[in-house]
């Protein structure tokens, strides 16, 4: 009998859930609502410094490579699609397809991260914009850095699920919920990126500057 089955049977878990939403899913929603404020504060920091002039440059808005970031944003958005496909595959009981889509999601996330590493490297080496160049640069790196960290954690969770499925020959009912939770988290990270890409990149980019 698996660990999961024990947990499902425990009297603790048997108490009816008044909202009808599983405990861990409700916890994830609560946590994500907190995360919105986390990124809200970071985005606000960035916006505060957008219109200001600084003694030392450049500002991120002057050096954005919008076509490049558009592609990596597209990659991240597609990972939400593959995440849904993984969820869909598992709800059909198709373990092989689940693993494929999980791996695809993790790969797309990794490509996005690689894009971010490339972007940071370009900014630092070619444009001479580091954390300590001006407050706008500080805000940019800390914001996108924290978002990248969230993506990286998501990739680790996806790969854990993939590994678990590989080792156990499939995901059980309890792990179906895990997959849903990872999915919620992953979509959240994606949605935040849509906001960041629109507000921080597109709306503040100085046309023709780069």
């Amino acid at each position: 009998m698996t660990a999961a089955a024990h947990e499902a049977q425990s009297p603790h878990q048997d108490l009816h859930e008044s909202t009808g939403v599983e405990n861990r899913k409700l916890a994830m929603w609560a946590f994500l609502s907190s995360e919105f404020l986390f990124f809200g504060a970071l985005i606000t920091n960035y916006l505060l410094y957008v219109g200001r002039e600084f003694a030392s440059g450049p500002k991120p808005s002057e050096i954005y490579d919008i076509p490049f970031t558009s592609v990596s944003s597209f990659v991240l958005l597609m990972s939400s699609l593959t995440m849904v496909l993984a969820h869909n595959a598992l709800s059909r009981g198709d373990q092989g397809a689940t693993r494929t889509w999980l791996l695809a999601t993790a790969m797309l996330g990794s490509v996005f991260l690689a894009g971010q590493v490339f972007e940071f490297t370009e900014f630092i080496t070619l444009e001479n914009m580091t954390l300590a160049t001006n407050p706008s640069a500080s805000a940019f790196y800390v914001l996108t850095g924290f978002h990248g960290t969230h993506v990286a954690i998501g990739v680790i969770m996806l790969l854990s699920l993939f590994g678990l499925s590989k080792r156990m020959g499939g995901l059980t009912n309890r792990q179906f919920l895990n997959l849903e939770l990872v999915g919620l988290y992953w979509h959240f990270v994606d949605i935040i990126w849509i906001v960041i890409f629109t507000v921080v990149y597109l709306l503040t980019a100085v046309p023709g500057a780069s």
Binding site: L15, A27, L37, Y49, F54, L131, S138, V142
Partner: protein, 653 residues
């Protein structure tokens, strides 16, 4: 079955101890965790109180040299941080942990192991904050910038190491690297970050417990007010903690990694810190006071022999205070140069807070009105809360009036105000709760006579300490300085005497607690003839809480099991009430069928241990040892996570 379980926990053998040292380290029982929170918070209360006494001894004369200026800064800051984050919040958490499942008719919180994790992170965060004491050698005194008038003397002695010294609000750029080169601010920023993680986990846990684990029939408007305040506080934490997390990250990044968020010379904005800090800091004020309001809302009806007047209004007023609490933060910044429009706006929103607060105060008074008051110790503390908090609330309204606030900013008037709401309010409420629920976890009664001695010592000492601060402040005594005008010395001496009376009161409490815990009168079932579900089970609470999960038919369920009312609405004890109570006690002591509980676990404490290691690593990240500590902390936390994930909540039965 057992092989599967053993295989799942390969890192550690599953802890088995049910009593003794190891049982406390590995417990996932919300009651034991509540007690751990309570004792830890109390120890910090004694430490924070000792700091206050040192400050008061120093301030007893205007030209005192008891403390150096640097130590004075370290002590008043640490006193503030301790009382807010290590006393009032965890003491509230103690009651929430212990009572949340009991008052909603559940056997535990939704995530017992996460609950243990919260406690251990909190404990390690508190120890981390204080570990700055050990780093005096690498900590030059605060604010040493030669040639700038008003700065501290570089030769200023410092005997308290790198205790946080920039005020609990850590205003920039005073707390930036340039003006505060010691490690003190780093310990504060990272310590608060760790404590924030603990609170966030608790908040999520309590929210899920509240929404999902209520007993059958316990609809939202049948939930006791204290539990409502618990969940309101959980939401406040959920939405305010991420903001302070970002702000503290910005401080840490500015100090350690060269970002320029608050560096005005590079175009950074120090006022941004104030906005972010108070956007957290003001909801934090309600995080501190709402649990005490909840406790008082439980005590007053029981000792007035009446239901709470306007239950729904009290609940909605609490939620209303929390909601409005996010729209008033800039009233802490009226003298920072924000625009007139902002000042008027925030002044007005601040005044609206008085409306739901007033609703609560009048409802408590309405509950007592024409009640048959039983003036036991918990009730005295509740009355103390009501009166002292009202005074503090009224002086708070004077801060909402902008010109008046300019006059009061950074004076002792502010110190008087927030001690009236946080000591006269929160601490009085929490100690009332301690007297009230003492039988619940110990099975014995506190000595009522000594309790009243404690109360009156505090009532007198408290007012002697903090009332004179009102006029000291209005006469221009500036807070956070180690020197003051000698003409103010008389009142300062009286204040110091008052502080010692509070300390004597606390000693009476400690004596009472210790003797009552060993030899107090046996409480039996339901010693206060109370109203809520936690009293429908034996004292002390059995490990499984409820032998039979109750079914709830209305507000004050337990009361209605015992009482009915006559035509005029007067309560009449049902003839079968005693029988019913005896039956409940019997099944609580001899449960009809065995109840399975979550097993203890090592992983919460192990995982929590990773966080302070990472924090030390960040402080010393320029050295190899620092980098190694970060890696070690992450590895420990991840290993614990893997162990946690592969260990079932409960073993096979």
């Amino acid at each position: 079955m057992t092989t599967a379980a053993e295989k799942a926990t390969t890192i550690f053998r599953r802890p088995r101890a049910e009593t003794g040292f190891w049982s406390w380290l590995t417990t996932v029982d919300h009651k034991k965790i509540g007690i751990l929170y309570g004792y830890t918070a109390f120890i910090f209360f004694v430490i924070g109180g000792a700091e206050a006494l040192l400050l008061r001894i120093h301030l007893a004369s205007a030209e005192s040299n008891v403390l150096s200026a640097a130590d004075y800064n370290g002590l008043f800051t640490t006193h503030g941080l301790t009382m807010i984050f290590l006393v009032v919040m965890p003491m509230s958490a103690a009651f929430m942990n212990y009572l949340l499942p009991l008052m909603i008719g559940a056997r535990d919180v939704a995530f017992p192991r996460l609950n243990a994790l919260s406690y251990w992170i909190f404990l390690f965060g508190g120890i981390f904050l204080y570990s700055g004491l050990l780093f005096s050698a690498v900590a030059p005194p605060l604010g040493v910038v030669p040639g700038i008038p008003g700065n501290l003397d570089p030769s200023d002695a410092r005997s308290f190491g790198a205790l946080p010294d920039g005020g609990w609000f850590m205003y920039q750029p005073n707390a930036a690297q340039e003006f505060s080169p010691s490690l003190a601010i780093d310990f504060a920023a990272l310590g608060l970050q760790i404590l924030g993680v603990a609170s966030l986990i608790s908040a999520v846990n309590f929210i899920v417990t509240f929404f999902n684990l209520r007993a059958k029939g316990m609809r939202l408007l049948r939930v006791p007010v204290f539990i409502w305040m618990t969940v309101v506080v959980a939401f406040l934490l959920l939405f305010s903690l991420p903001i302070i997390a970002i702000a503290l990250f910005m401080v840490t990044f500015d100090r350690q990694f060269g970002t320029l968020f608050f560096d005005a010379t590079a175009g950074g904005d120090p006022i941004l810190w104030q906005h972010l800090f108070w956007l957290f800091g003001h909801p934090e004020v309600y995080i501190l006071i709402l649990p005490a309001m909840g406790i008082v809302s439980e005590i007053i009806p029981v000792f007035s022999r009446k239901p709470l007047f306007g239950y729904a209004a009290v609940v909605f007023a609490g939620a209303g205070i929390a909601f409005l609490g996010f729209g008033v933060w800039a009233h802490h910044m009226f003298s920072s140069g924000i625009t007139t429009v902002a000042q008027v706006g925030f002044g007005l929103t601040t005044m609206t807070i008085a409306i739901p607060t007033g609703v609560k105060i009048f409802n408590w008074m309405g509950t007592m009105w024409l009640g048959r008051l039983q003036l036991k110790t918990p009730m005295w503390f509740a009355i103390g809360f009501l009166t002292m908090f009202t005074i503090g609330g009224l002086s708070g309204v004077t801060h909402a009036v902008v010109p008046s606030d300019w006059q009061q900013t950074d004076t002792y008037y502010i110190v008087a105000h927030f001690h009236y709401v946080l000591f006269g309010g929160a601490i009085f409420g929490l100690f009332g709760g301690l007297y009230y629920w003492f039988p619940k976890f110990s099975g014995r009664m506190m000595n009522d006579r000594l309790g009243k001695v404690h109360f009156w010592l505090w009532m007198i000492g408290f007012n002697m300490t903090f009332a004179p601060m009102h006029w000291l402040g209005l006469q221009g005594m500036i807070r956070r300085t180690w020197r003051y005008d000698p003409s103010l010395e008389t009142w300062n001496r009286i204040v110091t005497v008052g502080a010692f009376i509070i300390a004597i009161g606390l000693l009476v409490f400690i004596f009472n607690f210790r003797t009552s815990k060993r030899r107090g009168e046996i409480a039996g079932m339901d010693p206060w003839d109370a109203r809520t579900l936690e009293w429908s089970i034996p004292n002390p609470t059995p490990a499984f809480n409820f032998a039979e999960v109750p079914i709830v038919h209305g507000l004050d369920e337990f009361w209605h099991q015992k009482y009915t009312e006559d035509k005029t609405g007067r309560p009449i004890r049902k003839p079968e009430a005693d029988e019913q109570v005896a039956r409940l006690e019997d099944i609580g002591i001899n449960p009809p069928e065995p109840v399975h509980l979550p097993n203890p676990s090592y992983f919460p404490i192990v995982m929590a241990a990773g966080l302070p290691l990472i924090a030390y690593g960040i402080i010393f990240h320029r050295s190899i040892a620092g980098k190694a500590l970060i890696v070690l902390g992450v590895v420990i936390a991840l290993a614990a996570l893997i162990g946690w994930g592969s260990e079932p909540l409960e073993e096979a039965h």
